[in-house]
């Protein structure tokens, strides 16, 4: 409780200083919008339907690419973790591709897939893939030897080993991968929309900057922060529900 109070107080103090700095004109309102202005700007943008439209555009792309990455990344990571042969074949390719930024891939993706949705979903997928893949891989590969042996001496067959040991050992790591991937996806989608889009939060804040609508620029950034924060919270809640043992270990 004390910790929660301190955390909230910290945010409140920053917002207050920020508000006062603008009110006392320590910074020009042209470059710095006050929190109160941002809130009313967000309200205005919700009322006229602009913000919902851009959020929907961004999150639609983001969640498509993200969920594709979750499924393919977890699947490939699990297979690589379980089958040594596949690991040897795929791992060097993964390691070579992985350092390449999703944004570096974007022009290529546009060349292949056109300027529409597909290229943006592709780079989201690409950016989100590796955290989930590598975490799943670590989860499957990292089951302690004695845990596997305990299950074997109790009579577990291979499928039972996968269901009751490997799956549960990997689950918290998969969820951690999902958290990291979500954060990466949020970064990539905004950048991608700045390069090529006619809607979305990235498009919105870039346009606001180019047309000198400073409050709208801040409203966009704030929205991104809120979505990123809430998304992370939701994934953590899901992890707590799915892995009660793990969350407690982490907290203790």
């Amino acid at each position: 409780m004390m910790s929660t109070t301190r955390r909230l107080a910290s945010v409140a103090v920053v917002l207050l200083i920020w508000e006062l700095a603008v009110r006392f004109e320590l910074a020009p309102s042209f470059t710095l919008a006050a929190p109160s202005t941002i809130v009313s700007e967000i309200a205005r943008l919700i009322a006229n339907g602009q913000l919902p439209k851009h959020v929907q555009a961004s999150m639609g792309r983001m969640l498509s690419g993200y969920s594709l990455a979750l499924v393919t990344g977890a699947l490939l990571g699990a297979l690589m973790g379980w089958f040594r042969l596949l690991d040897d074949v795929v791992d060097p390719i993964v390691e070579l591709i992985r350092p390449v930024s999703p944004l570096a891939i974007l022009p290529l993706a546009i060349l292949w897939l056109g300027i529409g949705q597909a290229s943006k979903i592709f780079v989201i997928w690409y950016g989100c893939l590796f955290p989930i893949l590598l975490n799943t891989y670590a989860g499957v590969r990292g089951v302690p030897k004695s845990t596997v042996e305990a299950a074997r001496t109790l009579g577990a067959a291979t499928d039972e080993m996968l269901q009751r040991v490997v799956f549960y050992h990997s689950l918290p790591l998969i969820m951690t991968g999902a958290r990291i991937s979500f954060a990466v996806g949020m970064i990539v989608i905004i950048a991608a929309e700045m390069v090529a889009a006619d809607a979305g939060l990235g498009y919105m804040i870039l346009t606001a900057q180019q047309t000198f609508h400073t409050p709208e620029l801040y409203a966009g950034i704030t929205t991104i922060a809120v979505i990123g924060f809430l998304g992370d919270r939701i994934i953590r809640l899901i992890r707590a529900k799915l892995c009660p043992w793990y969350v407690e270990i982490e907290q203790s």
Binding site: P144, S146, T147, E149, A150, A151, R152, T153, L154, G155, A156, A157, E160, R164, V165, Y168, H169, L171, C243, P244, W245, Y246, E248, I249, S252
Partner: protein
């Protein structure tokens, strides 16, 4: 369960060289005996136990369990591990019932599970902790879960690999006494690996002392002291002395051997 080792040898590959860990181990363990395997760390006694469990394949010779050679691990020879090896994602209850809930045990009715669970929980003294996760309980309690989990599948033999080595001395004494009680109530054959002379002297009907690598059984000491054993009795001290001598002669090669 009767366990028999015949000319058992085990070698590990270490880079290009071979490391011989066990050499011509011969051993007969009669059903229902409490047998300790004693030796210094790294002498191969755990490797021997793992061969019995089916977790390692012998390089030469064989292990016979009730006359049949060991091919793979199985719940007829369940194991208790030094690091507990509990499943962190399962509660105490789920850990204990792990083996019972596997396919080959599905014919058992759920009611039987409940009965087995309550009996085992009472046997090892875990009442009230059925719903706890392993990380929420102490090391001593974790190992009692490990013991209950291994007993739940009703094995012919219980294989214990230095199960109390990571537990503090006071808790360990309690667990040793508890294990003796469990053994007397269940009548299981127990193979107990330890590097503690006192532990072997307190627990075993017979103690097989392993020599230095490549290990074979250097000496077998039968202990027929009444239980519960009085660790302060002169007869106990004499057993401990004999075991120590056997170990020492194994570590320092004699001139005749060299």
């Amino acid at each position: 369960m009767k366990i028999e080792a015949r000319h058992l040898g085990k070698e590990f590959r270490l880079g290009r060289s071979q490391l011989s860990v066990l050499n011509d181990v011969n051993l007969v363990i009669e059903d229902g005996r409490f047998v300790c395997l004693l030796g210094p760390s790294g002498c191969g006694k755990s490797t021997f136990l793992r061969c019995v469990a089916g977790l390692e394949r012998p390089s030469t010779g064989e292990i016979l369990v009730d006359g049949a050679p060991v091919r793979s691990p199985g719940p007829d020879r369940s194991m208790v591990f030094q690091d507990y090896a509990l499943f962190p994602w399962y509660t105490v209850e789920q850990n204990i019932l792990f083996g019972l809930r596997l396919r080959h045990n599905r014919q058992l009715h759920r009611l039987d599970h409940r009965k087995v669970l309550s009996e085992l929980v009472a046997l090892v003294g875990l009442q009230g902790f059925e719903g706890a996760y392993p990380h929420q309980i102490s090391g001593g309690m974790r190992q009692r879960v490990g013991l209950a989990r291994a007993l739940a599948v009703n094995p012919g033999a219980l294989l214990m690999d230095e199960p109390f080595a990571a537990i503090d001395a006071i808790t360990r004494e309690g667990l040793q006494q508890q294990l003796v009680d469990v053994w007397r109530k269940t009548g299981k054959t127990i193979l107990f690996v330890t590097h503690s002379v006192d532990e072997a002297a307190f627990l075993g009907d017979e103690v097989h002392v392993f020599g230095a690598r490549p290990a074979s059984i250097r000496e077998t000491v039968a202990i027929d002291l009444p239980r519960p054993r009085d660790v302060t009795a002169p007869a106990f001290a004499e057993i401990v002395r004999r075991l120590r001598r056997a170990i020492d002669s194994g570590i320092v090669p004699t001139k005749a051997a060299a």
